[in-house]
Amino acid sequence: MSEKIAIEVKDLHIRYKTVKAESIKKSLLSLKKSRLEEFEAVRGLSFSIKKGEIVGLIGKNGSGKSTTLRSIAGIFSADEGSIDIGDNTISLLAIGVGFNKELTGKDNIYLSGLLLGFTHEEIKAKYKEIVKFSELGKFVNAPVRTYSSGMYSKLAFSITAVLETDIILIDEVLSVGDINFKKKSLKKMKELINDSDRTVMIVSHSIETIRKLCTRVIWIHEGQMKMDGETEEVLAAYQEFMSDEVVDEKQAAKVKREENLLKMWDEQ
């Protein structure tokens, strides 16, 4: 494993201004009142991740995990502080990604690829593999709006999985498509994660997932660093901390689903 640093986050602050999209009438009427309530989701987070590390990000709901991940992906830029990913290519694997629905699957593959920082030639070389992996067949040439939700997420996963970027950010372990595709995508993810050149960050609620996959864990609490270190060490502290927290049903179900998936992972 090289000692090169892949992600460097320094004193990261991210604020949400609670500006909601509103009608003109409303915004004129409320012109006088200050509508800017600020909510700071991430408050001064600093860490650096070496190339090849697999880092888990834990913390309870609303602690700023996903926000951090999205800002590393460049979707939000930092209000204060900095994020440096060098010249690595980066992609965010998340459930329910977006395409331009009027365009065909093929066009969307190229557009996503170009946005992820690949050249036209590189995408062309991998194009067949993406289509094969996504199991779309001749549907790639149909507009994305005609796709079923399964096809949609399969395509999304295939693009990011096949066009292997240097850094992969995973927001909740994916469960995509039917059982066969799930197995296939897990296998692919395992490959991706185990590649020692690839830097991976995983956000998850499931302690089991993190324990199985990560070499290092960062625990975020209310937008600040609570702990950073060896997986077991951090997880033990986290479990103790969370034992008196009330876990709501929805989240429990999510964790359950993830852990079921993990069983499948082992069966591979």
């Binding site: 949400y16 500006v19 009608s23 331009n100 065909t104 557009l111």
Partner: protein, 260 residues
């Protein structure tokens, strides 16, 4: 500014591919496919010719070409601005997944509509010998006119794109506003002849679309110079709008995803 150019370079292939794909997607579903890019302005030209010549009985020399120039230029501006209002929302899927400087969206729209405008102007080129319009070196003077048109469209679209994110009903207002600008731009009448003094000069200089259209007609049809003072003023205003628009986008684009 440096960053802007670097980004445009970086996303160049994305913009071109995206524009191409959009154009392809638009015609894929229709039977006459790309012919619509010519047919659409052509049919509208007939509508306005009917209105002006038959209903109002007011004509201009080379009337079809006269309308065509105005219509093509206005359509370009109109379509780009209208689409930019909702651009961020429409591309929500892409934007919430990867970073993309939002003015790239504006440039992509301009590529799409610019291409359509070029196709429509090909018809103008064909019509010029047909109507025996004298061709002079003045025709090259349309180049500065189009530069100002592009800059103005880009600046206005950037600003509209930014506000379109935060104001949900901006699209309605813009539609009405653009309709007003359309009738004030003299697309199917000659502002200088039909509007009484001093309103005509006021309209010509105050409404950039009216001014630009008139300038282009001067160069192509009347074998004379465009109004260089007008072009100069709007060039400066457009550059300022562009700088302001891009700055605004850079400043607020992080919060777009949080709002939509």
């Amino acid at each position: 500014m440096k960053k802007f150019i670097a980004n445009v370079k970086r996303y160049k292939s994305y913009m071109i591919y995206s524009a191409k794909a959009t154009l392809k997607g638009e015609v894929a579903g229709s039977r006459l496919n790309w012919l619509w890019w010519i047919l659409d302005p052509f049919l509208f030209m007939l509508v306005y010719t009917f209105m002006a010549q038959i209903v109002f009985g007011k004509s201009e020399p080379y009337f079809p070409i006269f309308v065509f120039i105005g219509l093509n230029m206005f359509d370009f501006f109109n379509r780009t601005v209208t689409r930019c209002v909702r651009s961020v929302k429409r591309n929500k899927g892409v934007i919430s997944k990867v970073y993309l400087p939002k003015y790239i969206l504006v440039l992509t729209e301009m590529l799409v509509n610019g291409f359509k405008m070029c196709v429509a102007f090909a018809l103008v080129v064909l019509m010029i010998p047909f109507y025996r319009v004298p061709i002079t070196w003045h025709i090259f003077e349309v180049i500065p006119v189009f530069i100002v048109l592009l800059l103005f469209t880009f600046g206005a679209s950037c600003i509209v794109l930014n506000f379109g994110v935060f104001l949900t009903d901006l699209a309605n207002v813009i539609t009405v506003l653009l309709k007003l600008v359309f009738y004030m731009s003299g697309v199917f009448y000659n502002i200088m002849k039909r509007v009484p003094e001093p309103y005509n000069t006021l309209l010509l200089y105050g409404n950039p679309m009216a001014g630009l259209i008139q300038c282009a007609r001067n160069a192509v049809l009347n074998s004379s110079h465009p109004y260089y003072d007008l072009l100069g003023i709007w060039f400066l205003i457009s550059v300022l709008l562009c700088i302001f628009g891009v700055r605004m986008i850079v400043k607020y684009e992080n919060s777009y995803v949080k709002v939509i």
